[in-house]
Symmetry: C2
């Protein structure tokens, strides 16, 4: 299968590109390398040292004989999108190429506007390019579990059958996203659903949970292929950040009560989910939604797990509660469905002490490169900054 | 009350600005005059001759002694928004300033992207400006009944209480919009709801039905104050276009079966709804949704009404069915709630033969200015054009 991985230089995109290549698919990456420039903007960096994209794919070819094409460009550039789709003729287009940090989107007005324009326009360009040039191409789009928010009823996969005043319909699941980033994903979902219904496109929206862990078999196979490890308050996700905090002798910072419960997924499962979606494409006209997470954790539960494993490594980590910079419920009902990817064959890597230990050891090895000042949440949800 | 009317040069905005001014409010208009340039782009024009904005407000002041301020600029220009909010310090901000044509948004990729960026970014700028500079200002935002689509259950006003698997929650009503324009309004609604919840802003989202009729008491009081009358296939709404077709001896064109049912509202009620919302502001933190229409009509029902009244004026109009350029259900359940504005005191002008006759007479007076070639739908929903 010819698979284009947009955002293939990023945290999820890079291991996905390698995994799909290892499975024998013909893979090409499109990326504008913006994730690297955001690190420069924010004074953050990956805890692991990551090679540049050309070096990465070069080493992959040396090691495996498999070529991964690279197109450097931006999905908001309509000529780039047109040329990329027309030139590669993908069977599946895996779309990771969005600004994916909630705190980044909440920095101020200009970051909110950038996030929504970048994500929405990139996806619109893609929908039109697929619609005109490659109407059979399967769009595999990364969404987020954060689109749903924390409703007081069960979360289903994309749709809900509602009985109301004696009538019934199956409708898009109501969305209550919690940042301008999460909102951009909701906007994308609505746009893609419309394009499927109106133009007969085929799309799978993967509402991914919070991703943790760093390496897959492929990225771990050579230091040049190493994946990025974000631990800062803007791009670092909860478990990875907690491990970096514990490994560097800093307190594990829980926002508020820590009862916030979310779906989580190991990055080794992320790459498998993408292939499962690609191998089992949506029908023409179908907008299919999978909730891509394997288990639910509360933030406090994760922190306590890191604390426990940290002790076994003699790190003496401490939990610290920070005033929550986000506006979110800290105690709430949360029960989300996630059977559709399992039905396609996903065998989850559930979170265990071994995974946490490996993350802690990786962070300890790179301890000298940790900048503790970037742990602190710099962005306050409550304060709109017009800038 | 100090009321800023953004989009105050347009079809709904202009009569609203005059009406609010006539009621004694201190009114200022912000507008980028883009509606006039879209006419130039499309080769369309108002059936009635409309004066330029400066002339309009000048005549209003001569006639009434009431001044209406004018700021020419664009809500996507962050400096303009900042200066306008900081300078006028509105109690209420009435936001009509969006690209409001579904067919326009479906012309091709660039018009879809323009519509979404224009509408979403303008509203984001506004939310941030209100949040930082005028957090008590009541945002009155024009949405559309088209956000809901045509679900098989009753449409409520913004929210729906769902009982599901033994639990209950009141959630945002699921949205199934039918064009990239309608989608932009759904995106806006989600963004505004988030800003209310997160920053404590107060907002009313007016999901307006299809507006018909042309003049209000104020716009009819002097030829210089005349409102625009769009009849073309891009910006003309159903009833107004049908009257222009009948008045010029052209067939009344119904798309498909004509069973498409929607909420409709007389423009004389639009202006009253805005004042009712302004006089009864949302609470701080409240995102309030009103369905702003007064009755449901099918497209075919409207066409038959125009046909009937046309005969009484000896116009001999004929109905013609066109292949539907839109992708929409032509027979469907439709029952939408609209009690909240009535509860605030709205006394509807229901559609009757007198209103249709006046529209027909207006169109007949201006018959020489009708360009029948612009009746024809030029935009096909089914064909994505990458341009």
């Amino acid at each position: 299968m010819r698979v284009l991985v947009a955002g293939g230089d990023g945290y999820c995109g890079w291991p996905t590109a390698l995994y799909l290549s290892a499975q024998g698919h013909e893979v090409s990456i499109a990326d504008n390398l913006s994730r690297r420039s955001w690190d420069e903007e924010l004074g953050t960096e990956s805890l692991t040292r990551i090679s540049d994209l050309e070096t990465r794919v070069g080493r992959w070819e040396e090691l495996t004989g498999r070529e991964i094409g690279v197109a450097v460009g931006d999905l908001t550039d309509e000529r780039f999108v047109h040329e990329t789709i027309a030139g590669f003729e993908p069977d599946a287009f895996v779309h990771f190429a969005e600004q994916r940090s909630a705190p980044y989107s909440m920095i101020d007005r200009s970051h909110a506007v950038f996030t929504q324009v970048n994500n929405v326009v990139g996806t619109l360009n893609l929908l039109y390019a697929i619609g005109e040039l490659a109407p059979n191409c399967h769009l595999i789009k990364l969404g987020t579990m954060g689109e749903y928010g924390t409703p007081n009823i069960d979360i289903e996969e994309g749709y809900i059958t509602i009985e109301y005043k004696g009538r019934t319909d199956t409708l898009p699941y109501p969305k209550q996203p919690g940042s301008f980033y999460h909102l951009s994903k909701v906007h994308d979902s609505h746009n893609i659903m419309f394009a499927c219904r109106t133009w007969g496109l085929r799309a799978t929206d993967l509402n991914q949970g919070v991703v943790y862990n760093v390496e897959t078999d492929e990225t771990a196979s050579d230091p040049v292929l190493t994946n990025r490890y974000d631990y800062d308050g803007i791009f670092g996700t909860a478990l990875n950040r907690f491990c970096a905090q514990a490994a560097s002798g800093n307190p594990i910072t829980v926002y508020g009560e820590g009862g916030q419960t979310r779906g989580f997924i190991d990055i080794r499962d992320t790459v498998r989910c993408i292939e499962l979606a690609a191998n089992n494409p949506a029908e023409k006209g179908e907008f299919r939604v999978f909730n891509q997470f394997t288990e639910q954790w509360s933030v406090l539960g994760l922190a306590q797990l890191v604390e426990k494993v940290g002790h076994s490594l003699e790190l003496e980590p401490k939990l610290a509660r920070l005033e929550n910079p986000r506006v979110e419920k800290e105690e709430h009902y949360y029960k989300a469905a996630n059977t559709r990817l399992m039905d396609l064959g996903l065998k989850p890597h559930l979170l265990n002490e071994e995974t946490v230990e490996r993350l802690l050891l990786t962070a300890m090895e790179n301890r000298d490169h940790i900048h503790p000042e970037t742990f602190v949440p710099q962005v306050n949800w409550r304060r709109p900054r017009y800038k």
